[in-house]
């Protein structure tokens, strides 16, 4: 019975993680930057929503504002920091270090403003339970599954069916050629960062509803999401979502045999296995 409950919990966490993974993958595949500061955007979204809810803003409006604000932050990081680094012909390593610096800045501004302690959302409905058979779910979990699957479907549709999505994929596959055809890569990068950041804000708000907020809490989900992205195959949206769900399920099932503190070990073990046997990921076409 416990196993079934853990399986369901894993599926729920996996949906949230999947959206982080897809959003990071979208950014990574397009800009080719390892955007470590994405963890900061993810965390920031939760704190923004928390502040708004505290001010008495309706829950759903808070979520939307947090997503829009995250999009703006992401676009600003690309438009100001990364674009300037690109203009100065910074190497990959330099951009990576700057991104890590950005992460440190965001985390510590949050820690200075909100204190480093765990904050809980003051929402009574979020922990109310509903039972389906023998499995019990909180409303937050139901909402997470619905919204995250919706976001995943939305990103899928967007990047394969809309003009903008096709432009993004064109820049991702060959920025030089895209520039010749009058697409401006830098502008596309800003758009991608905005979309990716808004998408990451969704799990960034939903996951803390259950687990609470912590300034340094974004690194582990981002790491897990990145592993899912690599294992699923870079550039494959469906692959990274699926692998994220898989990893989250394995993490939760591992609670049957070992305590939760070691779940990062499970994730990392999966990564090493992929590294040794299938470094290009499960779902790559090239």
């Amino acid at each position: 019975m416990l196993a079934l409950q853990l399986l369901i919990n894993g599926l729920v966490t996996g949906c949230a993680l999947g959206v982080v993974s897809v959003s990071f993958g979208l950014i990574y595949a397009t800009t080719k930057l390892f955007h470590v500061a994405h963890a900061g955007v993810y965390t920031l979204a939760g704190y923004l929503a928390w502040s708004l809810v505290r001010q008495g803003v309706p829950d759903i409006v808070s979520l939307l504002i947090a997503m829009v604000a995250s999009a703006a932050v992401g676009a600003a990081i690309q438009g100001v920091l990364y674009a300037e680094l690109e203009r100065r012909r910074a190497t990959h390593l330099v951009v990576l270090i700057a991104s890590l610096g950005m992460l440190a800045v965001m985390q510590n501004i949050i820690a200075a403003v909100y204190t480093p302690n765990i904050l809980q959302f003051p929402l009574p409905w979020s922990s109310r339970m509903i039972g389906i058979g023998n499995v019990r779910l909180t409303w937050t979990q139901v909402l997470t599954v619905v919204l995250c699957l919706g976001a995943f479907a939305g990103i899928m549709w967007f990047s394969h069916r809309t003009i903008l999505g096709k432009q993004i994929r064109a820049v991702a596959s060959n920025p030089f050629l895209a520039e010749i055809t009058r697409l401006r890569p830098q502008r596309v990068y800003v758009t991608v960062m905005a979309i990716g950041s808004a998408a990451a804000a969704l799990p960034g708000v939903l996951v803390p509803l259950d687990l609470g907020l912590q300034p340094y809490g974004g690194v582990t989900p981002l790491l897990t999401a990145t592993i899912a992205m690599i294992a699923g195959g870079i550039g494959s949206i469906g692959g990274s979502f699926l692998l994220a769900v898989g990893i989250a399920v394995l993490q939760n099932l591992s609670l049957l045999i070992m305590p939760g503190e070691w779940s990062i070990g499970v994730t990392f073990g999966i990564f090493v296995v992929f590294m040794l046997f299938r470094p290009t990921g499960l779902f790559t076409r090239r």
Binding site: L81, T91, L93, I97, T267, M275
Partner: protein
């Protein structure tokens, strides 16, 4: 006086660590945020050996270095086979996993409380108990590390590493083993970090997980970036400057509750500013 001694000794330990980070980041061009974890492994091994009187200080230090060499090689080998970016994941993963082990494995590491009361180091049966002698020990250790770094960078192996940093493909085309050179650099970095950990544990006579977390790794990277990558003067300058920063901050009236975040915030700002305006740091070469 004691304050000055501890400043010097800590800065020296960080110089040794900075050399280790510099080997990876500056010279081999591998981004890493896990050197604090390797540092911690070294510190805990030496602390454990001395507290349980398993071996003396010198063998413990050698054991710690050897373990860190193996750890660093194991970490770098699979990722380097694939792509540079994958190493970022490995490095974050190792750091988070090490922190989890340091905090949760109470039997070996004392958990979140750490290991207090590490006995003073001994050199061949002669215990070093006063602060002066301990500072001399760290100075000797760091001096030895600096000399080794300088000699290595002058040797053909050092030139090979520099060449890889400039153009990996050209080096490979010239028939040199790029992977082997990078793994050797990582191994060397492990030895440096491991011995720095041992010196740190014995000087403070106390270790706890907070000295070896992701923030510590970021501080370390900031030291290397501010001082300057790839050079010996840069690796020495960075730690001395950045360890003086908390003291300078003490003059500004910041509430103690946010002091730690404020410090870490400054490190982040320094990373961004240096990457934008002076990627070579104060006394380094092009990064």
């Amino acid at each position: 006086m004691d304050f000055l001694y501890s400043y010097i000794a800590l800065a020296e330990v960080y110089v040794l660590l900075g050399l280790s980070t510099n080997l990876l980041v500056g010279i081999a061009g591998i981004f890493t945020v896990s050197q604090a974890a390797v540092f911690g492994v070294g510190a805990y091994i030496v602390a454990y050996c001395l507290m349980h009187e398993i071996v003396g200080f010198v063998p413990a230090l050698l054991l710690a270095s050897a373990c860190c060499v193996v750890l660093n090689v194991l970490v770098t080998l699979p990722s380097l086979r694939v792509s540079g970016d994958y190493f970022v994941v490995t490095s974050f993963g190792i750091q988070l996993m090490a922190t989890a082990i340091f905090i949760n494995w109470t039997g070996g590491t004392g958990g979140a409380n750490g290991l207090p009361g590490i006995p003073p180091p001994d050199l061949f049966g002669f215990p070093l108990e006063s602060n002066e002698l301990l500072v001399l020990l760290t100075t000797a250790g760091t001096g030895f590390g600096c000399l080794a770094f300088w000699l290595i960078m002058r040797a053909p192996f050092g030139r090979l590493l520099r060449a890889i940093r400039e153009d990996e493909l050209a080096v490979a085309a010239a028939g040199k083993g790029v992977l082997r050179a990078k793994v050797s650099a990582a191994a060397l970095a492990g030895a440096f970090a491991g011995s720095a950990g041992g010196l740190y544990a014995t000087f403070l006579s106390f270790v706890d997980p907070s000295s070896f977390d992701l923030d510590a790794s970021i501080l370390l990277l900031t030291m290397v970036v501010v001082g300057g990558a790839r050079t010996l003067p840069g690796s020495i300058l960075g730690p001395f400057l950045l360890l003086a920063l908390p003291q300078a901050l003490a003059f500004i009236d910041i509430p103690t509750s946010i002091a730690a975040s404020a410090r870490q915030l400054i490190y982040g700002l320094l990373l961004i500013a240096f990457m934008l305006f002076r990627p070579q740091g104060l006394a380094g070469e092009k990064l």
